[in-house]
Structure formats: C-alpha cells, structure tokens
Symmetry: C2
DNA sequence: TCAAAAGTGTTTCCCATACACCCATGC
DNA sequence: GCATGGGTGTATGGGAAACACTTTTGA
C-alpha cells in the first residue's frame, strides 16, 4: 500500500466515473469500551445514557459515526474517546466488528468496537453531543449475567442499548485472556513512572477476579519484565502502612 | 438485543424521518484469507487476479462489498467464499477490520477481514464476477518479507493490491498464535472423521514452520483432545509405508 | 530381513503454586 | 513491641523438550 499510482489513462477515467453510491452502504461507527479500575479496586466501565432515539434513555457504550474520508477508524475511535473523556493518548485497541442486520433499528450499522484501558485519575468524564449523561459503572459477575452498578443506578445486561451487552462481554473475555501474555495491565497504573508491585498485582487481581500470591507474582514480574528490560527498578521507595515498597518504572 | 420495541409515538416519528444519508457512509467489504495446505505440505492461500480497476491485473485476496441490509458481515464473507471456492460450510473467523483512508483509491472502504481454513481437497477454485483469474500460492518466508509463488507466478508482498500484504501478515500471525490453544488445525484435515496423528502433526508443522517431536506431539494430543473427549480414538488403522497408524475422529 | 514409520518409556528442566519465614516501617 | 505490608527462600508437582528404545508393517 502507498506505492500505488494511477498510471493508465483508462484507469483515470474509471476512477472519475466511479459511482460511489452503486452499492448500498451501511453506516459505520467506532464504539469504545472504556475500562478503568475505581478507587475501591473494582473493574469499571464508562456508559452513556442516550439522549436521542433509538434507545433513548438507555445506557450504552460511547461511540459515534465514522467521518468517512476524513479519518481512519482508529482515529474515529480516538476522537470519540477524547470527546467523552478528555483522554488523548490512551491505550486503544481494536476489539471486534459487529454487523448483524437489525442490531440498530434505523439502518444497517457496522460497529467497530475498541477497548480502552485508562487509569481513573486520567478520566475526566463529560457527556458528548447526543448523550445526556455519562457515568462509570462497576462490573459485577452474577448468576445469569453481568450487573453494572454505581451509587445511583443498577442495570443488567438486558437493559443495555443495542447489542452492547454482547460487545462488553467480548471485551471482558479478551481483556482477561490478553492480560496473561500482554502488558495491558500497565495501562491502568495511575503512574507508570513510579509504581509498586502490589499496585500492579491489584490490577491483575481485579481483571482476573481472583487473588494472587504476592511472592509468586513478584517472581514472574521480575522475570518477565524487569529482567527483560521492559520495566526498570528505581532506587526510590513508596511509603505505605508497613514496610515501604520499591518503585518501578514501565518502559515499553 | 432483540427485545427492543418502538413503543413511544415520537420514536416512531423519529425512525420514519431518520435520514440515512445524513452521515457520509463508507463502503464495507468482507475480504477472506483462504488458507490451505497443498499436496507438498506448504501453507498456501488463495489469491485473485483483479479484472477491474483499481489495481487491475494485481493479485489480491478475494472479497466483495457487503450487501447492506440484506446480510450480516459474516454472511457476506460466507457468500464470497462460496462464490470463489464452492465451499459452503467452512471454518470462517473474523480477523480484523482495516479502514485507513486511502487504502482504496476510489472512496473510503472499510474491509472486515476473515480467515478461512479449508482442506485442499474441498477447494474448487473458480473466479468470481470481477476477477479474471484465481490461484493458490505457496507462502515462503524470506528475508525482507513474504513471497507467494506457484508453478506460474512469483510475487512479493509489495506487488499485492491495496493493503492486502498487511492483512495477510496479520492473518498468518493470528493463525500461528491461535493454533497453540485452539483446535483450528483440525479444520485443515482432509478427513476429520478418520485421521492419523502424523497427519495432524504435519499441519502443525506447516503452520508453525518448524518440525515437531512425534512422541511429544502424541502425548499432548492425547491429553488435550482424546482424554477430554474432543477426539475419539477409532479401532481402525491406516496403512502407510511403515507400521500402520491408528485413526482418530474429531468431534468438536 | 531391513527400512520406515508408529508407538512407549524415561530423564531433565522449567515454571507455576504453595507456603514458611524474615525485614522494614509507623504507631 | 507489634501490627502491617514488603520481600526472600524452599519444597512440590505438572508439563514441555529431548531422546533412547520397541513394535508393526510393506517391500
């Protein structure tokens, strides 16, 4: 890609006469599952209460239409994230593309879903254009499905707009699988330049929804990250309630 | 999804007046990387020589525009696969969605890429509507990139249409990563109802581009598949050059 | 009977897990 | 000192890799 040039004359004619409306086109959106870990170590995500139809008043994941021609899908996702959270340079990863007919009552809508992992202190939530409200919801795994709740609302999977429950489930599954072999967890650190092993461990525990053994976590962390140079051990320490903990710096 | 109904009167009005052309819409295609293993155990893929502009005469992966409203993306991919290969019920998996502006000189095109794994004896290649030629190419890893070749043609990554080289690279990477923990390899067996351990091992070797130790491969195969009931050991054997080999049947 | 391929058994090493124990710090 | 969390060391077990060896078959 990038090396292609129109050289022949008949190709130029073809491109000029190309009728872009020959095929019926779907709308394309970039939707984002914004994950964070809140102050009491619960995995949370950002939901928007829809201000317009369809699904007016329903909670949904943030997203918006692709500005075709002016931006890539990745850029559309980044723009949408910026609009909703003020976050500019986030860890943003394409998740999956959803395109069943009927998932949007208006017309065929293809949604390219992205996952963002953002530390809570960097999140400055604001409502976008067509949204009346935005809030973080804790994720709770319950028999029969996931429940999303915060101080003011509790909703179940079935109460989400569109097929967003399926999208969220896909995102959680992927997040859990990736964390074992990708450094995703570091994206959720409040300070990637100075963090303790315990802080990182709490992130892993939150995502995997289990408790981990600290000595063993330390060993695998040192082997996989410090010894490979992806994390640097600092000389400084952080004061906590007990013995002060060594600080580390994430490099890449 | 599926439980949503328009109940309010003003929502009905909204949907009636919804202007589907308000946002500029991109074209959406479903593109397919058809992998197979050819008779001399080389990983191969299906390429189409483009009969129309753009990239007329270039080799490309098969694909076609989504018939928005009439089919899901998955169905579009299945239809396209059927058109090109006569294969109807294949292992078809969504890979990634590519949507950089400029990747197609006509207009913004979003391509949802799929991977298909099909045994060569089931492949009946035919050219589709806008393609003048279709052929299998062996994949060879060379310094500086991948080379695709068969009896009649040899092409490099840079000679492929659009950004298809990137799509293929993504597909190969994913295939290699998945095979270690997903039963993808079984999709490439000539006969899933009666295969030997060596046959399966050759598929793994082809995909991973290494040689494997047969005793160890047997052990992990028995533990992961036979003992878990996903593969059944048959009483029959297959005659080969040496000692005849036990046959197995893939269940799910 | 010999080569070729299938199949078995053994040894070694790495790594995950479990857990006992020591160290530093604040109150 | 003592509670609290950070940090170290050791024992155990399972699986991956390497490989020596046996069995069955066709030519």
């Amino acid at each position: 890609m990038g090396t292609y040039k129109c050289t022949s004359e008949d190709e130029k004619g073809f491109l000029k006469n190309y009728d872009a409306s020959k095929y019926e086109r779907p709308s394309v959106t970039a939707d984002i599952i914004v994950f964070t870990i809140d102050d009491d170590d619960a995995l949370s995500l950002l939901l928007i209460r829809r201000g317009g139809y369809p699904y007016k008043g329903y909670w949904a994941i943030p997203g918006g239409f692709l500005n075709a021609g002016a931006e890539s899908i990745d850029e559309a996702a980044a723009r949408e994230l910026r609009d909703e959270t003020n976050v500019d340079h986030a860890f943003l990863q394409q998740l999956y593309t959803f395109g069943n007919p009927g998932r949007d009552p208006r017309t065929t809508v293809i949604s390219v879903a992205y996952t963002a992992l953002i530390p809570k202190n960097e999140l400055h939530i604001k409502a976008g254009d067509d949204a009346s409200e935005a809030a973080l919801f804790k994720i709770k795994y319950d028999i029969g499905g996931i429940v999303f709740y915060n101080d003011r609302n509790t909703i179940t999977e079935a109460e989400l707009a569109f097929d967003h429950a399926e999208i969220i489930r896909t995102a959680i599954t992927r997040l859990r699988n990736r964390i074992d072999y990708e450094p995703d967890a570091f994206s959720l650190l409040k300070d990637k330049e100075a963090f303790t092993i315990s802080e990182l461990k709490r992130i892993y525990e939150t995502i995997k929804n289990t408790t981990l053994d600290l000595p063993n976590f330390r060993k695998t962390f040192l082997r996989n990250y410090v010894e490979t140079g992806r994390v640097e051990a600092l000389d400084t320490t952080a004061a906590t309630r007990g013995r002060s903990a060594r600080l580390y710096r994430f490099i890449g």
